[in-house]
Symmetry: C2
Subunit: 272 residues, 2 copies
């Protein structure tokens, strides 16, 4: 191909992939090249913008480290993570919806976090099959975003129930002192995610569920920087001034309770 121009370049690149041994890779790269080129044509991307875009991607790559996955934050804030979750986690009506895996929150304490830090949130819930049958022995990993020390790991009882307490989750921004934060700022966007607890629930015979439970009334429910909110995942977190806690004790201090039923989708095929 010696006469490549803006009209022929896309087909020239795609033709070069005809020899790819992996048919799926060829399919994915064909679509990627078509859309990448269509984008550049549509906006008539300038050389300065192209150069700036490459530098931005390189900077995201350099900033991408364990615990601070900058490229994942980019995917989250552009809605790609939410879209991929939606495309791959289609579940029958009645099953609990999936949400994006927790993205890296900023290390900085969020406003209001200090005042809530000492307050307990009791989470009592159940894990059920679509027909309402309790699932015993389901493994639950739960916690506040970025709160590794507060991560809970537990199993449901014979009635599918579980109970744990954790700190009360509050709104937190995603890490925004890097290139993705600069992009959000330039786009007039804030980096906040609404208060939520993360859950990963596994049980033999059921699809693994990665999701969040959000707090009704949170000011960022309609503006999650990572586009993870689903209406079905917003629940009442009930505040109590004092009284009997779900674990049978009595508290003289305020506490919060959350009751949520997770409905898992059965796997099909030959997995047990």
């Amino acid at each position: 191909m010696r006469h490549i121009n803006e009209d022929t370049i896309t087909q020239a690149v795609i033709a070069r992939h005809a020899a790819a041994g992996d048919a799926r890779l060829r399919e994915v790269m064909t679509s990627l090249v078509q859309h990448l080129h269509a984008f550049a044509r549509e906006v008539k991307l300038t050389e300065a913008e192209w150069d700036g875009g490459l530098r931005f991607l390189a900077e995201c790559g350099r900033a991408h480290v364990p615990g601070r996955p900058e490229v994942t934050l980019l995917s989250d804030t552009l809605g790609l993570s939410a879209l991929v979750t939606a495309l791959n986690q289609r579940k029958p009506r009645g099953c609990t919806e999936a949400s994006v895996a927790a993205s890296a929150p900023a290390d900085v304490a969020a406003p209001g976090r200090g005042s809530d830090a000492g307050e307990r949130c009791y989470v009592c819930g159940r894990v059920l099959a679509l027909d309402g049958t309790p699932i015993a022995g389901a493994e639950i990993r739960a916690g506040r975003a970025g709160d590794d020390t507060g991560q809970e790991r537990l199993l449901t009882g014979a009635d599918g129930s579980f109970l744990f307490s954790t700190g009360v989750a509050v709104p937190r921004p995603i890490a925004h002192d890097g290139p993705v934060g600069r992009l959000l700022h330039a786009l007039g966007r804030h980096p906040w995610r609404p208060a939520h607890l993360s859950f990963i629930i596994s049980a033999p015979g059921y699809e693994r569920l990665v999701t969040h439970v959000f707090r009704q009334g949170d000011p960022f429910l309609d503006a999650d920087a990572a586009f993870g909110v689903r209406g079905s995942l917003v629940a009442d977190w009930v505040r109590h001034e004092r009284g009997r806690t779900p674990d049978g004790h009595t508290s003289e201090r305020p506490f919060t309770t959350l009751d949520f039923a997770f409905v898992l989708n059965a796997t099909t095929g030959d997995t047990p």
Copy 2:
């Protein structure tokens, strides 16, 4: 937006950018999000592929260093660089076409390079306006890809002519021991670029020209890994067994000559 799903996510992201102060940034990001999402939908990108793609981008960013711009190599090999050049360097018929800026060649010597390394290539050329008028005092930076020590900087004479000698260029692969090289391999593609000399030519009153001159007969002319070849940029590089060289000396050893006329496009507007 609390009911985000695969059908509503794209509009939800775009709506979030309504407050961007920079209208051009908003336009570019709107198109980017639409095409990024359309790609994911079209191939029904799996969660494993999404994860692999993010890791790949992060690795490219980490590998991106001065002299080895891995993200630029990715753009080159996906044809984006050639497309952006074509979109921005539309010139009147008769002007010399632009090509992609030289991408990082591999440090390894290419087969055949050793044998050519001692042979000189005399480049005699002229820099002209579209009407054939010679352009005196045009600044030329020229050289073989990646050959910083061999870079020539010179000015055209009163008749628009220039002359320099350099090593004979040979085909060289782009740097391919990183993630982009792995991708090319998986796609069944080679990393080679045809032999070429790079030129950057500047003169007051004319558009800066960044281009290559390729060698007629090169085995990679139809398969440039960076999609930089234009038919108008392929020239006869004439080999001489011995005789009078263009600089007036006599050579008892073989040498090559290249004669090429560069036609610059006048700038419009108020630039001198």
